[in-house]
Point group: C2
Chain length 427, copies 2
């Protein structure tokens, strides 16, 4: 073992084989990172007591903080309590403070615990009960073989609240009292780019980090663009000097990626364009063909978006393009529904009909069918009209399956809008 580190363990057969991804571990990695604890391993295991025991035994050999989520519910499937007790050689017993907390919580809802729920008050001997301020299942933690094992419910909202209210203070206190400390927080900066291939981002960042500098550069491509991350290496003390270095490198990433960089950290394209629209008091209307409503959906994921999103038209059929947006049928006949001309006419049509500042449109072929030699699957046009008589109509050629092309198209359209807003800001 060369570094202090953490392991997260997600429990549940559905997470293992059931088409469901575990999102809790990413939240935990974030929270632990802020405390300077690097998550180095993540495990997922089904609802089998013996398999959970196996995972606990592997984890204590390689991690000092172990956070288990799930398997604390009232059903027989939920065997995390038994597994932890068995793995660490403790006995399970009904714990007064666990029972009281649970009863108080249920009483608020006008209920009393049934026999199944009473199982939730069974806690391994020697463990500390962790209160659940949101749900009925308490958590617990205990130290075994020098590792701190923390068990939390799998319900995200309960897990998150318990992490914030119970676990983070506990880890802080443990760190301070031991003097052993989890050292400097792991610093991480994330940059979101769109419009450059991964290889091009890589080329632009070439030579950014000199040999021996304790900062990792990461790249990750998806239909939404290429994500760039700078991360101070886990758990090695980061003197001020290195912190400054991270800031210097971040500035360098910003200038090298210039306006392909659309957001940082947890920010998103839809939030970025939303803020810009709101700041300038602009109202937006969207006309979507191949994205089918995805742009509208994304824009309205942002709370408060009604301040700048007026409406959207999903014009899947040609008739809808004509009737909803006034795109002349003969323009569609001449150039095809997937064309620069129609994209521009759609943007203008939705802007005029909504009587707003800016209209944004997208038309394309998401596939898998509908492509031709001259207009292949993945051909997409984005239009923007601001009433100045200088409409934008931009061509894109994407690859991937139907969903990837829809995602890329929505991102491309929002990026065209973002760049138009940027230009406006410079004027």
């Amino acid at each position: 073992m060369n570094q202090l580190g953490a392991e997260t363990i997600a429990i549940g057969t559905e997470l293992l084989i059931g088409g469901r991804s575990d999102a809790n571990s990413l939240f935990l990695a974030d929270e632990l990172g802020k405390l300077g604890i690097a998550v180095r391993f993540k495990s997922v295991v089904g609802d089998e007591r013996q398999d959970i025991v196996t995972v606990i035994h592997a984890a204590v050999k390689r991690a000092q903080v172990i956070i288990m989520t799930g398997g604390l519910g009232p059903t027989v499937d939920d065997c995390t309590r038994e597994a932890v007790a068995y793995a660490t050689g403790h006995r399970l017993g009904r714990r007064k403070e666990a029972l009281e907390g649970m009863m108080a919580r249920l009483a608020q809802w006008g209920r009393i615990p049934n026999s199944a729920q009473l199982r939730q008050a069974m806690i391994p001997s020697g463990a500390t009960v962790l209160k659940n301020p949101v749900g009925s299942a308490p958590g617990f933690c205990l130290t075994w073989k020098k590792a701190l094992i923390i068990c939390l419910p799998g319900v995200p909202r309960e897990m998150e609240e318990m992490m914030r209210q119970e676990v983070v203070p506990l880890l802080r206190a443990a760190s301070e009292s031991s003097g052993r400390s989890f050292q400097a927080p792991i610093s991480r900066q994330v940059f979101h780019t769109f419009g450059l291939a991964e290889a091009d981002v890589d080329a632009k960042l070439k030579g950014l980090i000199s040999k021996g500098v304790p900062i990792d550069l990461g790249l990750l491509a998806s239909p939404m663009g290429v994500l760039v991350s700078l991360t101070t290496k886990g758990n090695r003390p980061v003197p001020e000097k290195n912190r400054d270095l991270l800031q210097k490198l971040a500035s360098s990433v910003r200038s090298r990626l210039s306006d392909w960089l659309f957001a940082e950290g947890h920010d998103s394209m839809e939030a970025v364009v939303g803020r810009e629209l709101a700041t300038r008091g602009l109202m937006l209307a969207v006309a979507e063909s191949c994205t089918g409503g995805l742009i509208g959906h994304r824009l309205t994921q942002v709370a408060g978006s009604s301040a700048y999103v007026d409406r959207g038209a999903v014009c899947y059929s040609n008739r809808a393009k004509t009737e909803m947006l006034g795109v002349p049928a003969e323009l569609i006949a001449r150039h095809g529904a997937v064309s620069k001309e129609v994209a521009a006419a759609m943007a203008r049509g939705i802007r005029e009909r909504a009587n707003v500042s800016v209209g944004l449109s997208v038309t394309g072929i998401a596939g898998p069918g509908g492509g031709t030699e001259t207009k292949p699957v993945g051909l997409v046009y984005v239009g923007l009209d601001d009433g100045t008589g200088r409409p934008i109509a931009q061509e894109f050629r994407f690859h991937g399956d139907r969903n990837a092309i829809k995602q890329r198209s929505s991102q491309a359209a929002l990026d065209v809008l973002r760049r138009w807003l940027l230009d406006k800001a410079l004027k």
Copy 2:
């Protein structure tokens, strides 16, 4: 070790801490399940050679088939090759067949391998090279400590093709030649319900599975509904009798959940309603307020949806509801935009304007702002109009954050449409 089983290992720091979930392992669990190999463990580890070695050492103690994905690319970050060689005590060497396959692939793209890419031909001694029919990085497999270790790229498309073309035949052959066989495939049936709380689904399924029957019942709640699964227990031989039993239990699940059950297996709500619309030759138009385009996006995720989706109107503002759908301003003033009356008027408005068979609408308060005492966040109305003069307008009260409420609302609206289609079929 009480059962034969598999472990999947996903490699990449981004998967561990970077806000990115690993979807490969779910595909692998599916493919392995078909071969009768139960995935019992899943691990995720960053791009640190020593940590990968630790994970491999834990895996060989508890699994007989180990599939590793990621870390086979050309950059220095990619250290799966080194880690496997080091963990198993093999030397890395450039392998002729790996190099030839890679050069042939790159030649198709008119390129020759650069020095970084040449690293991808480095394979542990004794390992078998696995061809990559889609990308440049070859995979490999080797047997160590009685476990079969298989390494594949992390790019989903490459991983999937290699799994199908190379790994599945290899596992089949291994099973046949050893006579040890992976036994009967794990059978799994998945049922998707909407409209019942998890506790109600649980109650309806009470006593379904008698004690000692080797089939697991799983429940999983999400904004999209409650998923029910029946799974034959991993790797225990499943005689015909048990296979029949699974079918019998599946029938029982179907009748107990009756028409709350909207789909099975990989089928989805949007595909189900799409097929029904297409079969009946019906055209649909959608008017969305709080879902902001999500219903249109979901409907158009299905290839060929242009055959039954005519258009959608995203009417975020009241003005848009009036202008796009003809909802009288005074109706909105009297009942509020979030009301049964407006939902019905929206559905009728979009149906009439689109001149289609059926109009579907949703209006509600997604939050976090905008709620009042009488109309709280989560209050949602779904409308449906088919021109028969008997419009549907249904009230829902959802909980959760903005995204959960949007998801639930879209599912509720599609479910109202599905039930209307069901009724039509019965007439």
